[in-house]
Symmetry: C2
Subunit: 215 residues, 2 copies
DNA sequence: CGACAGTCTGACCAAACGGTCAAGTTCAGG
DNA sequence: CCTGAACTTGACCGTTTGGTCAGACTGTCG
């Protein structure tokens, strides 16, 4: 949640400056946190990237942790909802294909969001513990039910629902979080729309049909 | 590479102390770097975990970067070789199953190694650029050839070899790097051998056969 | 225009950091 | 038991860091 501080929304149209500066800082912070992690990021670097004096940063966000929390909240909003495509009435192959495409879309257009999240989890999720234990867990539990239903109706093999979700997460996150490695292997300077299209097709095909020839 | 420094291996049996202390420091460093990343880790914290004074750490490893490099070298040694199971003469399903099992084995017994590597890549691989561009790229190119051969011989669907390898990497790394998330979703305090066995089975089944019912 | 909340910022600080150093202690070979 | 190399360490240093603050500026509403 953004910040508990003198929010002057009194009357109409106020706080424009605040809103503009806060979003500039959040954008800069997302980049710097993605590049260097929480501890490695410095408020000076974030402020510089937002082209504001450091003291100004601390005017809008009291502490580095508060700014980080705000960035995380933004990221979660983005990350949370993709799984909602999983509903009992849908054809699993469609839902899964759309999920992969959606996740990879965000990995391409907001790679830093993915990296901030990955970094947070990688280092033990000190800021997201309760989110993981509450919201995320419940959400997955719920979607696992949908997957079991798909299985019961014979549309899906008897996969382990949670591990299935892990695999979806893993394969889609990879392209944003490990992009240096992917780029090195593919020999690209930057991953383009075409690379992501190939990735989407590959992942979808593999998850739906596997790699073995059959019948 | 460990360190260019007065290595007293003169006569027999010397350097025992050095060897012991260096390995204690490396172990401690692996943990701390995994928990906090390169910038977040402090030499004081590493020294404390190794139960040595900080000055002693700097006696064995001149700088934090040198220590970090040594840790990375250790990690790479572990990570590098699993792909060697891919040879033209083998049955792909066996090779793949063994690869997944092998990678997940290391994810379980050396999760910090995986995290150090993941963190390095996540933050742009400043220490591993040349490794990625040379060794890794070549290695993948080579293994991609094997996969293409498998495809030509009709044992494998026409998957994109490199993206196929990415998927193998992604799904296996996930359990070490994102273990907090996995634990939260599964409701475990610690991932045990059984969890990893389930994961291995799930990943293998999914990659080989996909999730859709068929025929 | 007066007033006041909101915004801005250079200068500053204590704490923490990576790294150094000189003086000491231990250890094995002669 | 002597010697020299290897090892140990408390104290220290310059720099960087997150955060503060007092005072100046600005936009807007009555």
């Amino acid at each position: 949640m953004p910040s508990p501080r003198p929010r002057n929304i009194k009357a109409n149209g106020r706080g424009r400056i605040r809103e503009s500066n806060e979003s500039r800082l959040l954008k800069a912070a997302e980049t710097v946190f993605a590049e260097r992690g929480f501890r490695g990021a410095t408020t000076a670097a974030i402020a510089a990237r937002a082209k504001l004096p450091k003291a100004n940063l601390h005017y809008y966000f009291r502490t580095k942790a508060e700014l980080y929390r705000a960035v995380l909240a933004n990221v979660l909003e983005l990350w949370l909802d993709e799984l909602d495509r999983f509903t009992p009435d849908r054809e699993p192959s469609d839902a899964i294909a759309e999920y992969v495409a959606g996740k990879l879309y965000w990995s391409r257009v907001r790679p830093n969001a993915s990296k901030v999240f990955a970094n947070e989890i990688l280092h033990g999720a000190p800021f997201l513990e309760s989110y993981l234990a509450r919201d995320l867990r419940q959400r997955v539990e719920q979607k696992a039910k949908v997957i079991r239903q798909w299985i019961r109706s014979g549309k899906l093999r008897p996969v382990d629902p949670k591990h299935f979700i892990f695999q979806l997460w893993a394969s889609t996150q990879h392209y944003a979080d490990f992009d240096v490695q992917v780029r090195a292997v593919l020999g690209r300077r930057k991953l383009g729309e075409r690379d992501f299209a190939t990735a989407t097709a590959s992942i979808t095909a593999l998850i739906l049909d596997g790699c073995l020839t059959r019948c």
